[in-house]
Symmetry: C2
Subunit: 289 residues, 2 copies
Amino acid sequence: MTTDAWVNETLYAAWGQRFLVKRELARVKSDFQDIMVFESHTHGRVMLLDGVVQITEADEFVYQEMLAHVPLLAHGAAKRVLIIGAGDGGVLRRVLQHRTVEHATMVEIDGEVIRLAKEFLPGIAGDAWTDPRAEVIVGDGIDFVRKAADASYDVVIVDSTDPIGVGEVLFTDEFYANCARLLTGRGLVVNQCGVPFMQADELRETSLRRARAFADVWAYVAAVPTYVGGCMTLGWAAKDATLRAVPADEIRRRADIAGVLDTTGYWTPEIHAAAFHLPPYIARHLPRR
Amino acid sequence: MTTDAWVNETLYAAWGQRFLVKRELARVKSDFQDIMVFESHTHGRVMLLDGVVQITEADEFVYQEMLAHVPLLAHGAAKRVLIIGAGDGGVLRRVLQHRTVEHATMVEIDGEVIRLAKEFLPGIAGDAWTDPRAEVIVGDGIDFVRKAADASYDVVIVDSTDPIGVGEVLFTDEFYANCARLLTGRGLVVNQCGVPFMQADELRETSLRRARAFADVWAYVAAVPTYVGGCMTLGWAAKDATLRAVPADEIRRRADIAGVLDTTGYWTPEIHAAAFHLPPYIARHLPRR
């Protein structure tokens, strides 16, 4: 690709975003997907998997903060965290920001994503790769949750691609049943559920699957600049329905103890609490309570 | 343009959205701007002004509901409403949904926008054009606010293009000073302030201008699918700082009286209240309190 060519995101057939490329940095065909990293004019460096934007340096904070801080602080005493996917290391970094976390396992199927993130997007993970509390496994998340011991984690965070291609198996009944099994009593799982204005099926169908394994199924929203199309939803499946109703004041207290208060660009205790209030156009895709 | 060509939004030089066009419906050069209307594959019909998406049939509800319901219900007793811009009639329709509103004046500078909206986007305004409470003026909003009587409106809603081109004069000190003068004692003005992730200057500079004429200056957010780039901000300038702190329960009561409760796709009393909690990356562009 020549410098200053446009890259069109291919997520949707007839609408999408495009970036003017300043400099292409990598284009790799891994065993699982096509990976591209480029320098943009507007969003710092950008990583695409199979033509879909996964992360940009400029707005990654929105997604990572909401995917990590919300479940950990809603739980309130999470010591062991399992991350599936998230090969860029950004969720791992935000999880380890919580000094209350004792261990984080990250299972990413594609070692090339980790390698390229370390080389071209080192700021995303920061020191997380060498944190003594982190265990980074290049392997199959489905297999990992199948073999994981009962009640071995407090929180599971699934940062996958959409349920097409390599990410598809992370949205199955078996996967969620295993998540429920490996979680402790107040455990919960969150996962990225796409942008419902464009991908309502993704939210609707995976919510039904989660409801087979968890008592409380819901979603919360974040407006991620480069996950275009309005609010994205993060799926919520918990054993304890009180976890998503913790008031902002208590979330603030927990965040202070964890050491994450006033470190964020998007997340706040008030935004945490507000994120569970869904616009009707989104709420109607969730299972009726 | 041939059918099935792409239209690239030209708002930002190096990033943006694009639509695959199903059928071009109109392309007009008015006295003020280039207007284009087309049928998309994904968002129904779309109107662009000077290459920038103004409205799509599929997601207009998000923007209109938040621009109309939030100020009217925060005020709580708005009888007379002034709308500047909004030539598609969508804000007018949402304002007139409030049976508590006695009169709405809409001042749109470009009669061609109204004509094309009536012809190609009739569902956006619905019956608003013929509502006996509506007064539609094709004229200059700046001039209108200059000549309007003191304390003649309860709420001003500015639905303009960005502060470039024809919309620029709607963001000046003189405009806001006149808004303050023509508003009643608990009056307030809201206006579209762009997407701060991409256009932080717009929020920062117009907030400073509003602060010269109003005691309480803030913003609230909405995630509008085709105003790409995360949250958009709607500027808030009020004489009374309590208006943006009305609890969701009271907003619900007022919405019920006004007849707008359970009519919405995005707005809810909880989302109303939550919208004033800004992510730090946005809040830092507002004047310090």
